[in-house]
């Protein structure tokens, strides 16, 4: 039990904007009305935020592990975590090791993360790694939009069957929701092709188009009553002029809930690398008029990183552009996976446009409940650099200084220089915690109200915003003080949130022959056992049928 007194509280979920308020944490690790005779933290002069929630990150699983193995040069230069009594050893850097990931997230005041891309085939591995990420609570999303068993049902017009298949996969992967990456495009990658237009049939199918997959999968997510809507990585990522594809995708989502992942990578104008420019104004306009859609920025920060995505064809293109290392994982008939280490340089015009576009989206989308802080870690930059983005959002002057360092040719390609908006602390709290928690359907997160999980972070108020957000004074997770005065005090295990959607009982028998026909794995070995999940918290879903 803890009492936090005198802090300036920013709790957007309850409309509290900087009022001085006492918070009480009960025995069960949730907020309560009052407590007696317990530790009191005097937070006078400090700022209290709900614990951060990362709506889109990649921290565990086969792809991440491959990225770690592919970048030994980063391990030599990065921050090392030396083992102590309470802490395991590890490495930070572009693709931090499991334990270090937990320490780094908690050290920045984040208490919940959403691992946004898990193929079912490597779900078991992912859950094992997540169990080794301490402190933070976790959710995972299952890659579905290129799953050939599901696509076959969609092609045949068997909507119900497709829905049952998705529900079956979600439970088999012990997952929290559906991720769609380059719908149809990754399936086409297996033919050496991609899918850039929403209306063209995809390779290997006679009439199925990316547009149909998008709409059907969004409908399935709605019908299954998933707490988090379809989490969509649109087609044609990263390409100049892809704004038309993105807007077309959004039209296919009319009437549905959806979360558009790392929208920065989908908001470019122009028609070649030379003419590429930011088209965030158009995209932001769409978000401003469509409150059913949320997004995360996928902002880019200059520096070294490693890009990891299920979007195999894009990664092959990126490898061809950079001539650097390239990893491609075969994930059978479920999805793809590519890994390319990358360096974003301010002197590179394309990178400069990307850097500006991420910030523009966060500033042009008016409602902070719709656009969330993310770098699509590690693709646009490492998650432990979020405080740098917050500084760029909160300080227009600092932003101007950074813009001045970009090449002159950037003029006319970006709108960032014309934007004066500065985020308030209330908006930052919305965008890094309350907003993503609500979008994920995690109602007990990002909320300092009575009954919610006592995940909160206390900052010493400082003028240097980047420093303030990277060095919280206290971090409390589930009622335990995990960070105090810059030190890790406790490293409790986090929980994992799962959904259990209902599906027709005959789905098992429907899947078995298909499975035995095309998978390299035994059907009975495939679903992840519930016992494998550390501290599962299962949400049983109803059905519309």
């Amino acid at each position: 039990m803890i009492k936090i007194t005198g802090g300036k509280v920013y709790d957007p979920a309850n409309g509290i904007d900087g009022q001085i308020k006492d918070l009480c944490v009960g025995k069960d690790g949730t907020f309560v009305e009052a407590v007696d005779g317990c530790r009191t933290i005097d937070a006078s002069g400090m700022i209290v935020f709900p614990g951060g929630v990362d709506v889109h990150t990649h921290v565990a699983g086969g792809a991440m592990n491959f990225a770690r193995a592919m970048t030994p040069e980063d391990h030599r230069r990065t921050q090392a975590f030396i083992r102590t009594q309470s802490r395991r050893s590890g490495l930070g850097g572009m693709a931090p090791t499991t334990f270090a990931t937990g320490y780094l997230y908690a050290g920045m005041g984040f208490t919940t993360v959403n691992e946004a891309a898990v193929p079912v085939l490597s779900a078991r591995h992912t859950h094992e790694e997540l169990a080794d990420i301490p402190i933070v609570d976790k959710t995972t999303l299952t890659l579905m939009a290129n799953n050939e068993i599901m696509l076959d049902q969609m092609q045949a017009g068997e909507y119900e069957r497709a829905k049952n298949v998705v529900a079956w996969y979600l439970w088999a992967a012990k997952s929290y929701g559906v991720k769609a990456v380059n719908p149809g495009g990754v399936a086409a990658w297996k033919w050496g092709l991609d899918a850039k237009q929403l209306s063209d049939p995809i390779a290997g199918y006679s009439s199925l188009t990316p547009g149909k997959i998008v709409t059907m999968l969004a409908t399935i997510c709605d019908d299954l009553q998933l707490p988090h809507p379809m989490h969509l990585h649109c087609n044609n990522l990263g390409a100049p002029g892809n704004i038309s594809t993105t807007l077309d995708t959004l039209k296919h989502l009319e009437g549905h809930r959806a979360h558009i992942a790392h929208s920065q990578y989908h908001a470019y104008g122009g028609d070649s690398w030379e003419t590429m420019c930011s088209a965030t104004t158009q995209l932001a306009e769409y978000f401003n008029t469509h409150p059913n859609i949320t997004t995360d920025a996928g902002a880019v920060l200059f520096g070294d990183t490693v890009t990891i995505t299920a979007d195999g064809p894009w990664q092959h293109l990126l490898y061809k552009l950079t001539g650097r290392k390239w990893g491609n994982l075969d994930v059978e008939n479920e999805t793809g996976c590519g890994i390319v280490p990358y360096t974003y340089r301010p002197s590179n015009l394309v990178n400069a446009v990307q850097w500006a576009s991420g910030l523009e989206l966060m500033l042009l989308i008016k409602n902070p409940w719709q656009v969330f802080l993310s770098t699509d870690h590690p693709n646009g930059g490492c998650f432990w650099r979020y405080p740098e983005i917050i500084q760029l959002l909160m300080c227009a002057d600092f932003r101007k200084e950074c813009i001045a360092k970009l090449p002159d040719k950037i003029k006319g390609k970006i709108t960032l220089p014309e934007i004066d908006r500065e985020y308030t602390l209330y908006e930052v709290a919305t965008s890094m915690s309350a907003g993503p928690a609500r979008a994920l359907g995690l109602l007990q997160k990002g909320n300092l109200g009575i009954g919610c999980d006592a995940d909160l972070v206390i900052y010493e108020e400082e003028v240097d915003v980047a420093r303030m957000f990277s060095h919280p004074r206290y971090v409390i997770k589930g009622g335990e003080v995990v960070i105090e005065d810059g030190d890790i005090r406790e490293t409790p295990h986090g929980r994992e949130f799962l959904v259990k959607p209902s599906y027709a009982p005959d789905t098992d028998e429907f899947m078995r022959p298909l499975f035995e026909d095309c998978y390299t794995m035994q059907f009975d070995n495939y679903p992840v056992e519930l016992e494998r999940i550390e501290n599962p918290k299962i949400l049983e879903l109803g059905t519309n049928n």
């Binding site: 592919m70 970048t71 030994p72 040069e73 980063d74 030599r76 650097r324």
Partner: protein, 270 residues
């Protein structure tokens, strides 16, 4: 004034001693030097457990003994000199930024790996990965000169970006693997797959080489830059022929499988 170190007895397991660098020792007293920590395997021990130390406060180091298992000597050094009498272990002068290292004896693998500048001269034979990039890194040595009088091992100059490597003896396989720039001079030729995956840079061989099929013969000529290099190398006692009257260089372009813009020049005496 120099600092002289004598190895008391060869270590049982590798001795990681990157403190043996002028940058670390130049301001230290004799007792401070003796107390410096080195790693004997995973065990931390003071320097004096393995070395007799004479002298202090100098950026000229002289090290004696069978240093075959003593690693990382001169790591990241930027000034001064190190003279080794005896065999020396892996990673000699890795990441060095300046200064000179001279070895009167044989050296092991990874000498001058990822060095930025400086000069290394090994009078005996050396191991592999001379001036190379460590695993995963994009670039090996970025400048400086490495001279080995004897033979060398595998992957000499792997991914090097700039600088010069001169080998007196024969080099083993994959010399200039994935080279990105710089020059490797082979006075006695090399074994197989020389220049594999090379992108840019120059390999000069004074002996015939077994060329990979992905290198294309271009022409015979006497490039002017060899003339310039020869004059520079003459100062350190290396003879690089360039005069038309003595012969010509056959130029091979490659590695075309990358495709790369590197070149291999093979000397044809007249």
């Amino acid at each position: 004034m120099t600092i002289t170190l004598h190895l008391k007895q060869p270590p049982a397991v590798p001795l990681e001693s990157e403190v043996l660098s002028p940058d670390v020792l130049s301001e230290l007293s004799n007792s401070e030097i003796r107390a410096l920590i080195i790693y004997h395997g995973k065990r931390q021990v003071p320097l004096e457990e393995f070395f007799d130390v004479n002298g202090e406060r100098s950026d000229q180091l002289v090290i004696h003994g069978d240093l075959n298992k003593v690693r990382w000597i001169g790591r990241g050094m930027s000034k001064g000199t190190i003279t080794v009498h005896g065999k020396v272990g892996m990673h000699l002068g890795a990441y060095m930024k300046g200064g000179r290292i001279e070895v009167h004896g044989d050296a092991s693998d990874w000498i001058g790996a990822e060095m930025k500048n400086g000069f290394i001269h090994v009078h005996g034979n050396a191991g592999g990965q001379i001036g190379a990039a460590y695993r995963g890194s994009l670039a090996g040595m970025k400048n400086g000169t490495i001279i080995v009088d004897g033979s060398a091992g595998l992957e000499v100059g792997m991914r090097m970006r700039r600088g010069t490597i001169v080998l007196g003896g024969i080099a083993r396989d994959f010399t200039g693997l994935q080279m990105k720039g710089g020059t490797v001079i082979l006075q006695s030729g090399a074994e197989i797959r020389t220049g594999a995956w090379m992108n840019r840079g120059t390999i000069i061989s004074l002996k015939p080489l077994q060329m990979m099929p992905t290198f294309a013969y271009a022409n015979d000529f006497n490039p002017t830059f060899v003339n310039v290099y020869a004059r520079q190398l003459k100062q350190i006692g290396i003879n690089l022929p360039f005069a038309r009257s003595e012969g010509t260089y056959q130029r091979y372009a490659g590695d075309l499988s990358v495709p790369g813009k590197g070149e291999i020049l093979v000397w044809q005496p007249a």
